[in-house]
């Protein structure tokens, strides 16, 4: 069990999640974030705080989202930790509206 960052983070990267993660399990590059599954303790603090509902408990993944499990794992292993809030991507507001949030 873990939590995963799904497609909605693309073009957003709001980073609200990293401030509430008790175990610093977020990793990322300039475009989006991932969760390191071996660190995540499944507390769920990040789920309600994401403005675009990008984070999902692996138990609740829809079949077409399951691909994100492996993507999070491999990307998280390769990318640096993201611990502090940063400015969302310039496309974030537009993307948030397009997603209906």
């Amino acid at each position: 069990m873990t939590h995963v960052v799904t497609a909605n983070c693309d073009q957003c990267r709001f980073t609200e999640c990293v401030m509430v993660c008790p175990v610093a399990c977020f990793r990322g590059d300039g475009t989006r974030l991932y969760i390191e599954p071996d660190l995540c303790v499944d507390c769920g603090a990040c789920v309600p705080i994401c403005p675009v509902h990008a984070i999902v408990d692996s138990f609740d993944l829809l079949p077409d989202q399951e691909v994100w499990l492996e993507t999070n794992r491999t990307q998280a292993k390769a990318l640096p930790s993201v611990r502090e809030r940063s400015t969302p991507l310039p496309t974030a507001v537009q993307r948030q509206a397009a997603l209906g949030y």
């Binding site: 401030m19 509430v20 993660c21 008790p22 175990v23 610093a24 303790v41 499944d42 507390c43 769920g44 603090a45 990040c46 309600p48 408990d57 138990f59 640096p80 930790s81 611990r83």
Partner: protein, 483 residues
């Protein structure tokens, strides 16, 4: 006279205390942070509140230990601010104090009969099965057939799950042995959870609910299934309660006439409040009446639910601390974004608050990281003034405690105690066997297990039992702090 290095004191070694320390250490590179803890062990509600069968969540303590192992952090455990040393005296020794003292006092329901034996607040009952030194002597009797839980939040679900969960699962949790002994003599056949709202207004998360509902030995029942009207199902309070309602509509059954399949029964009651706990000396029943919010319930009769134990999970408030000027009606310390305020609404210089003591008992562990960050930002805004005002202070907490005759435990001591607890636990197939008092902790530090805890110490350290922190703790930051 030499200027004092920026010196901060955090009171309380729970999540908010550690996240406050983390934020201070990052923001003020030359500062020192002293964390003061009342009990012998750090980790606060992760140790004493998070359910003993939620071991994965308890892994967050590794992060706290990383923060505490930095060479600018000093843990002083076993010091009760307000009793051993007054808060004002602590303030006079440093640049600023952050209170992260939590909400340790269980709120009563406020109805007759609460002083009967076998009626507990969640603070006491949860503290008991988690081995909190304040509650280890609670001695509840679980050899009863029926239990009532007041409240519809995650704490209620934790208490309920512990009361019904199979003993095999509890044996491998970190419920301390004396408490586990009581769980072994459980006779509970049914638990009644009393909720003030309708099914759509539950405060617990679906995930927690599913953990209870998925237990193979448990059946979820709703005695009012046929009588709740559509408007009583409504009032959905969030995405979680949508899923709870869906689950209940699909799966809950009314109370079966006989407990036919041997499963334990969890009865969920909605739109009810307790009116009275009744019994001769100890509780034998709870009288409940429809809550005020139940439409068209005028004159509806009270229901009497027999029970041998009752636990009210209806909230917490702060333990009062001399030197804190004002509390909100809900029981939190008056503050503005973490800056403590006096009764006149004016700022109390150098006094800050974080976590449950600041915002009340809401949110989960991670919520406190963002919350502590907000408090530290408030502190940083005032930092130049705070440093000017404190330049001639000593910053020497250890000397203060010595002068007051208070013996403290350090983080090195905690690492040794942690090793002792884990070793004792391993022998029983448990994650740890907790030490239940500061005296037990001190005795353990003198014992053989503490002396051989090199494997949990930083590689070059040999001073596991030393009262001083090991000098070999690396100058470099730990992986968590560096990450």
């Amino acid at each position: 006279m030499q200027r004092m290095r920026p010196t901060f004191v955090v009171v309380g070694a729970g999540p908010s205390g550690f996240y406050s320390a983390e934020a201070l250490l990052r923001a003020v590179p030359d500062c020192r942070v002293h964390i003061i803890e009342r009990t012998a062990a750090p980790h606060g509600l992760v140790r004493y509140g998070v359910a003993p069968d939620h071991q994965k969540l308890k892994q967050v303590t590794a992060v706290f230990d990383e923060i505490a192992s930095g060479d600018r952090v000093f843990l002083h455990a076993g010091v009760d601010i307000g009793t051993d040393v007054p808060l004002d005296e602590i303030r006079a020794h440093c640049s600023a104090v952050v209170l992260a003292t939590g909400s340790a006092v269980g709120r009563p329901v406020g109805v007759p009969g609460e002083s009967l034996r076998q009626v507990f607040t969640s603070a006491a009952f949860v503290g008991w099965y988690n081995g909190h030194p304040d509650h280890a002597a609670l001695a509840p009797d679980l050899g009863v057939s029926s239990a009532v839980i007041v409240g519809n939040g995650n704490v209620s679900l934790d208490v309920c799950r512990l009361l019904v969960r199979a003993l095999d699962d509890l044996e491998v949790s970190d419920i301390p042995e004396p408490m586990l002994k009581e769980f072994r003599s459980r006779r509970i056949r049914e638990v009644h959870m009393l909720g003030r709202s309708g099914p759509g207004g539950v405060k617990f998360s679906f995930k927690e609910f599913r953990q209870l509902a998925d237990l193979p030995n448990v059946r979820i029942c709703m005695p009012q299934l046929g009588t709740l009207g559509d408007e009583e199902w409504a009032g959905i309070s969030g995405p979680d309660s949508v899923r709870v309602v869906q689950w209940l509509k699909a799966n809950a059954t009314p109370v079966p006439s006989i407990a036919d399949d041997g499963r334990l029964i969890v009865n969920l009651w909605f739109k009810v409040v307790p009116a009275e706990f009744v019994g001769e000396g100890k509780v034998s029943a709870v009288v409940v009446r429809p809550s005020a919010s139940r439409g068209g319930a005028e004159g509806e009769a009270a229901i009497t639910i027999p029970c041998g134990i009752a636990v009210s999970c209806v909230g917490f408030s702060c333990r009062r601390l001399a030197g804190v000027p004002a509390y909100s009606p809900a029981g939190a310390i008056e503050n503005d974004a973490g800056q403590v305020l006096g009764i006149d609404g004016r700022e109390v210089p150098g006094l800050f608050v974080a976590g449950w003591a600041k915002r009340g008992p809401t949110g989960i562990i991670g919520t406190n990281r963002a919350d502590a960050d907000e408090t530290v930002q408030s502190l940083l805004k005032r930092l130049p003034q705070l440093l000017d005002d404190s330049t001639s202070r000593s910053g020497d907490l250890r000397a203060l405690f010595e002068q007051r005759g208070v013996e403290t435990l350090t983080h090195a001591d905690w690492r040794a105690l942690d090793h002792v607890e884990k070793t004792r636990g391993e022998a029983r197939g448990k994650p740890r066997e907790k030490l239940l008092s500061i005296d037990e902790a001190r005795a353990a530090l003198r014992g053989p297990l503490a002396a051989c805890s090199d494997d949990v110490m930083p590689a070059t350290s040999t001073a596991a039992c030393s009262q001083r922190r090991p000098s070999s703790v690396s100058e470099g930051l730990s992986p968590y702090m560096r990450a």
